[in-house]
């Protein structure tokens, strides 16, 4: 029997396999760090007198806590400022490169890795962040870890972990013109649930996946963790190679050809078996928006707020009731009748250049509605430069949006000064609509950049085609 792509990559990185109980010792090709979940890992190294084994396979960036208004201080939160300083100091002390606000390589950890050519097919990548799954869009096995595991990887460049099971999500057909990778993954999670991928690596396959851009594949893989999966993965192909070709530090000449030959071999064998398989017809995917407080509580935009009584099972019913109470929504209301006061375009899910283009396309020649604050935060300094080069900054500011000069996570997680106040309601291109995610008492509707921009124009949840 053949192997899946995930199995091949896993086997290639297994230092010590399958001993008593099934944990493998997995070698890590690239270890990404950000400021929030790493200080205690470095404290642990110091306390034990340990070194970082491979600082040249490690890189840090300050993204979660940093203000995105200016490269200067500007922190509201002293603990946030302290963590950013700790990351710089820890990386300097242990010889790890670190990107600071204002650097040309600075940005959200999952955005800069691919941009800088550090993430390539067949690699293993870990980071102290659940959305590390993003990087599976390039055909790398990439997943989030916790602080103790960060310390372990810093010290050993390896990780004990059980090999995940294999899940195939096959997407046939073609996405409609108004549906994006974000809508596709939201539609998938609405079907399989927040635990649908648990314990599995999801390999996304089929013509609708192959037709996605690299950016779209990263959005798809990004939200794999919202289905509970360990990682998401798309097999590398010509789209991947074309993207990598333009990245810095790529092998040249015969070395490039050798890499492409290797990457081309990274495919699931025809006779490989998946533990779980899901099929989806892309043609049925509509623009989606979340109505509740977990990403599976989502519906196509033309739907209505569901009635908890219609949910099967007491737990699901209670969860829906609780979500509607928190979101202050009544069953039966049209989703497009829900008024909003804030729009956030950005994050590791939808903060890449393609996402900013999609939002700007909707805004061009239009204005953000009175009373709506639209925040656009580029995913990286490189995305910001590109946006300015294309004149997107003028589209955003001309429409009355707040286009930020510095990259960061900003309102996705509300760790910097960009927070919703209690009761405020946002359409957000981020990944999580959890209670309080964007600030205490915040109400989040996740959607694509195009839907977010259209909603900014009308002040209510809106499909771009309805403008």
């Amino acid at each position: 029997m053949g192997s899946t792509l995930a199995q091949k990559v896993w086997a290639d990185h297994t230092v010590r396999g399958g001993e008593a109980g099934g944990d493998d010792l997995l070698y890590v090709d690239l270890h990404l760090l950000h400021e929030v979940n790493t200080p205690a890992a470095f404290d642990g190294l110091r306390a034990a007198g340990r070194a970082v084994r491979r600082p040249e396979l490690t890189v840090g960036t300050e993204d979660h806590n940093v203000p995105t208004t200016s490269p200067l201080d500007g922190f509201d939160d002293p603990a946030g400022r302290r963590q950013a300083a700790q990351l710089r100091d820890n990386c300097d002390a242990f010889g790890i490169p670190v990107h600071r606000r204002g650097d040309k390589g600075h940005g959200i950890v999952h955005v800069i890795g691919p941009e800088q050519g550090l993430v390539r097919p067949g690699m293993t990548v870990v980071c102290c962040d659940s959305h590390t799954t993003t990087l599976g869009g390039l055909g790398a096995v990439a997943f989030g870890i916790g602080t103790s595991q960060v310390e372990h990887v810093l010290a050993t460049q390896t990780l004990w972990t059980r090999r995940p099971r294999d899940m195939a999500v096959t997407v046939t057909g073609t996405l409609p013109a108004d549906a994006t990778a974000k809508d596709l993954v939201m539609a998938l999670i609405a079907v399989i649930g927040t635990g649908g991928g648990q314990g599995h690596i999801i390999e996304y396959r089929g013509p609708a996946v192959e037709a996605l851009s690299l950016e779209g594949r990263m959005t798809l893989c990004n939200m794999s963790v919202e289905a509970g999966s360990k990682a998401g993965l798309v097999a590398p192909d010509e789209t991947t190679f074309a993207y990598l070709r333009t990245r810095p530090g790529m092998p040249q000449g015969a070395d490039w050809d050798a890499e492409v030959a290797y990457w081309t071999s990274l495919r699931t064998d025809p006779d490989a078996r998946f533990d779980k398989e899901v099929a989806l017809d892309a043609a049925t995917v509509r623009p989606y928006v979340s109505w509740g407080t977990n990403p599976a509580q989502s519906l196509p935009l033309d739907g209505r707020v569901p009635n908890p009584a219609d949910f099967a099972g007491a737990t699901e019913r209670a969860a829906a009731e609780r979500a509607l109470a928190y979101m202050d929504l009544k069953p039966g209301r049209r989703l497009t009748d829900i008024g909003i006061d804030t729009v956030f375009v950005g994050s590791c899910t939808n903060g890449r250049i393609e996402d900013l283009r999609a939002a700007a396309e909707v805004l061009r020649g239009r204005q953000v509605a009175d009373g709506v604050h639209m925040l656009v935060v580029p995913g990286s300094a490189a995305v910001h430069r590109q946006a300015v080069e294309e004149g997107l900054d003028r589209v955003f500011t001309g429409a009355g949006a707040d286009f930020r000069p510095i990259a960061g996570c900003s309102m996705c997680c509300g760790l910097n000064e960009d927070r919703l106040r209690p009761g405020q309601r946002a359409v957000s291109t981020s990944n999580r609509n959890f209670e309080g995610r964007q600030g205490k008492g915040s109400r989040t509707h996740i959607a694509s950049p195009a839907v977010a921009a259209a909603s900014a124009v009308t002040g209510r949840i809106t499909a771009p085609t309805d403008l």
């Binding site: 944990d23 340990r50 390896t158 635990g195 209670a318």
Partner: protein, 199 residues
């Protein structure tokens, strides 16, 4: 990590599913807490409600949290584990867990125990009726015992062995240094490094 062998305690019933790590410790609390410092931020927003379970006097001193399905999904923040440990919890029983939380908990010595939904429901009912109900979580025998019930659970054997010892996992791994070095010698050439890109 904290050693874990057999724990006898009382349980706090958290009758909810999809309790994500943003609820266990909201993001804005995270930068303020370390594994060893004081304070913990556990259920930082929910605990504002005086009727929230963790605030009820009858559950003060509980050491085992009992939750529904999809406990601690979402963010990888290990501070969710630290917050539970610093609030006195030694084990969490749930129908299912977020993968990263489960691994974080095992690294720190907070035991995550998966039990079937009917056992969790029974634990909720018993501990709601009598908060002093003794619950034993036995890692040696892989059992949870309460009232007249004995529930078996599964746990990764490597993690179990390390928990029973309270192992220094990094120290253990470094004993395989020769194998790691051998792997590094056979890694594929042309893989990227980060150093030359330092700005």
């Amino acid at each position: 990590m904290d050693q874990f062998t057999v724990h006898l305690g009382t349980a706090l019933p958290l009758r909810r599913s999809n309790v994500d790590t943003d609820q266990i410790i909201p993001a804005r609390f995270v930068p303020y807490f370390s594994p060893t410092g004081h304070g913990n931020g556990l259920f930082g927003d929910w605990r504002d409600d005086p009727s929230f379970t963790t605030n009820l006097p009858q559950y003060q001193g509980a050491t085992i949290l009992v939750a529904g399905s999809e406990f601690a999904t979402g963010s990888s923040r290990e501070s969710a584990v630290w917050a539970l440990q610093k609030s006195g919890f030694r084990a969490v029983i749930a129908v299912s867990f977020g993968d990263i939380f489960r691994e974080n908990a095992l690294m720190r010595g907070l035991l995550p125990v998966v039990l079937p939904a009917d056992a969790v429901e029974l634990l909720w009912e018993l501990t709601e009726a009598d908060p002093t109900t003794p619950v034993t979580v036995d890692l040696e025998l892989r059992q949870v015992r309460f009232a007249d019930r004995t529930e078996e659970f599964q746990v990764n054997e490597g993690a179990r062995e390390r928990l029973l010892r309270g192992a220094d996992t990094i120290g253990d791994t470094l004993r395989h240094e020769a194998e790691i070095s051998a792997y590094e010698r056979r890694r594929r050439p042309l893989l990227p490094t980060t150093r030359r890109r330092a700005a």
